[in-house]
Symmetry: C2
Subunit: 431 residues, 2 copies
């Protein structure tokens, strides 16, 4: 499969027809209008009038019971179709011994299995009056909500604190300094990271909160970002928009062949535990929203290389038209060579692709009252160099740079999936 | 109807059976699992196997097209069943003339009508290359998502800047100082507020962003809070949990009689524009999460007066059992008189009720690395005194005070609804 996979009804039918595949509905609980107050548009209302209660109860149950397998060749949360909400957290270890670290990873592995199956990490309501609740309870009986928890190790985990230098993947290191960065140490780095994604934000938040809590004597939270809207499309998903108003993720990595070639790490890491893993790059990108909002439409579209409403490449008519970087209009390239899509297209980068799995965020207002908002860019790739080569190009040429600042950054080695119940992340480090 | 309205299947059936009523699905777009990767629990999967695509497409469309009327006796967003997401923003006016204020209110009134109907506030993609997009575009084609926009006026709007003193509702003033407060001026007050609620966070965010943008020469944002999870139940909704893990909103105002008695303002405000309006109280309440998490279950339950898992009053067995404040166990009250539910129960407050419509929030980490999270408490009442009398009691007696701090506060007079297209908020101020 190519990365041109359209989210059209044909592919959707093909998808839904597959044995073992299921379709699931988005986030949120039951929303019921008060009598006569809610309006549902046109044809749908007629259709629903037949038995709305059945629909709603089914949807609610579907959303609550959507789950992804925790055990397998790969961690979930990478090729999983992006859920609606993200809580990304990087942690520093305050642990000083390998045994402490081992305990954190073992506890987390078991807790992640519980929570992705919709279970609390322990008693919400202990039997004894003096018992301290093990699970904090705010996601109790909310179901799985498609929760995935993806664990990564920062380069610093392999320094001399825990004796893990020999387990460091080949060439794994902090990202090099790049043009266009204004990194804030408060949003950079970390020994460990958890990417929690779910269709309900409270379920994602609960998971990270409880992982942090159960390891509170050994880890401390370094930085965290809440994504409030998907910014990248997965296969069969409608393409969402970033906070600049443009669709993002139209040409994302899709299909097993692409994942094998571009995303899943293998022998080249020279660490068996990285087989089936990947590298997660996180970039907290602040958007200068007010400035962008005053840019004329012609310039905005030229910067992205796509139209704003439809999301079509400027060489075509429809979102999923393949960009033609040779097309010309009045003697000039239809898609400017320094447009965002031209700079990152695999056609112009020796085939390099990365899986984007980012989320929009806002932290409210900054210290001078401007919108503090942007993109929590997350990508997965077989080798961090894929991201670095693309970002070097963007940092030096992308006309978007006038409107964005990379303020946070992290790179994490994401181990392959756990094979079965009883296994735990990092087991091979402590043999 | 009493405030004991249970969200059980009986009442749900009664509700869905009503003519003109519709049931609508929660937030989020289409989430489609990759082949074989997603699992949907038990009976549901079987049921879905018949035609999942149809279900998902219908549900997706339902969520996107849910809308509430913009014109009517009351503003939407008060008796509307709480949507999944909140963006609450308070604004200061930098405008210096009444005409400027009039223009803001007229532009907002028209824009709110557009956005709650799922339309952009102007062109996303102007025809001319040099045209500046009027609408910022990030919610384009996302549908209505149940969006409601509720406008309020702070007491300061009626000071001497705009000549509006004679329009000030009777006794309308900033909330008095109360015990248990640690208010931060950065999260307090405001000349105007907008409560944006929707089942998709990007739709709510887009609305506030575009209101702020179109009035940028006349207003500046004072404070904003993003709610990421409902914390209060509306009629027919499953009761959500706050970040302390307890259900909240079991005994909320419900039904027309209750709204008439406790929520909708009338003649006593001595301002015709407040007929059908209400008063919005906003309190940003920081929770000392880590401290709470170490409190034994017996103490937690005694503090709330309810069990944690079921949410039953300690005098009963089920969530919707009416609390019996006279019940005793071993010679002591089953529900402690200084428990949260005993302190605020209408039975113990001369019948006083307020409509709670709050949301959980988290701002990530505070300056010392603790979870910066809590409750964006929002209530509506006929008179702010209803909130003040309850909060005075809570501030002086509530054992929860050990675990919470009120850090933000605002009170806003919410005018009645606009009667029809062409009318605008504040029109009566400028006649």
């Amino acid at each position: 499969m190519s990365d041109e996979q359209p989210a059209d009804s044909l592919s959707r039918r093909r998808f839904f027809g597959g044995a073992g595949s299921v379709a699931v509905a988005g986030a949120g609980g039951l929303i019921a209008g008060t009598g006569g107050a809610a309006v549902v548009g046109g044809a749908l209302a007629d259709e629903q009038a037949t038995d709305p209660a059945t629909d709603v109860e089914r949807l609610q149950a579907t959303s609550a019971t959507l789950s992804y397998p925790y055990y397998g060749a790969h961690q979930s949360g990478i090729d999983t179709p992006p859920q609606d909400h993200l809580v990304f957290t990087a942690f520093d270890l305050s642990a000083t011994t390998a045994t402490e670290l081992q305990l954190v990873l073992a506890k987390w592995s078991a807790a992640m299995a519980q929570m992705t199956a919709g279970r609390p990490v322990g008693k919400v309501e202990p039997t004894r009056e003096h018992g301290i609740p093990v699970d904090t309870g705010e996601a109790f009986d909310m179901g799985t909500q498609g929760l995935t928890l993806t664990l990564g190790y920062g380069p610093s985990l392999f320094d001399d604190r825990f004796g893990l230098a020999k387990f460091k993947p080949k060439d794994f290191a902090d990202l090099p300094a790049m043009a266009g960065e204004a990194l804030d140490p408060a949003y950079t780095g970390g020994d460990l990271c958890i990417q929690a994604c779910a269709n309900d934000p409270q379920v994602a938040y609960h998971a990270v909160r409880n992982l942090a809590r159960m390891a509170r004597t050994s880890v401390k939270t370094r930085w965290t970002v809440l994504g409030f809207g998907r910014a990248s499309a997965g296969p069969h998903q409608k393409t969402p928009r970033n906070l600049m108003g443009f669709k993002d993720g139209t040409r994302n990595v899709s299909g097993e062949a692409d994942f094998a070639e571009h995303v899943w790490a293998g022998d080249e890491a020279q660490q068996p535990w990285m087989n089936g893993g990947s590298y997660l790059v996180a970039r907290k990108i602040h958007m200068l929203i007010e400035t962008w909002d005053e840019d004329p439409i012609g310039d905005q579209q030229s910067i992205f290389g796509r139209t704003k409403q439809e999301g079509a490449p400027l060489s075509g008519q429809s979102e999923h038209d393949v960009p033609d970087f040779h097309a010309a209009v009045a003697g000039k390239p239809a898609i400017a060579p320094d447009s965002h899509i031209a700079l990152v297209a695999h056609e112009n980068n020796a085939g390099t692709k990365i899986l984007r799995r980012g989320y929009n965020f806002t932290d409210g207002l900054d210290s001078v009252g401007r919108l503090d908002a942007g993109l929590m860019f997350i990508s997965f790739q077989k080798n961090p160099e894929q991201f670095v080569s693309l970002q070097r190009k963007l940092g030096s040429s992308d006309r978007l740079n006038e409107y964005i600042r990379h303020v946070g950054s992290g790179v994490f080695a994401v181990p392959g999936g756990l094979p079965e119940s009883g296994s735990y992340y990092g087991k091979e480090f402590f043999a």
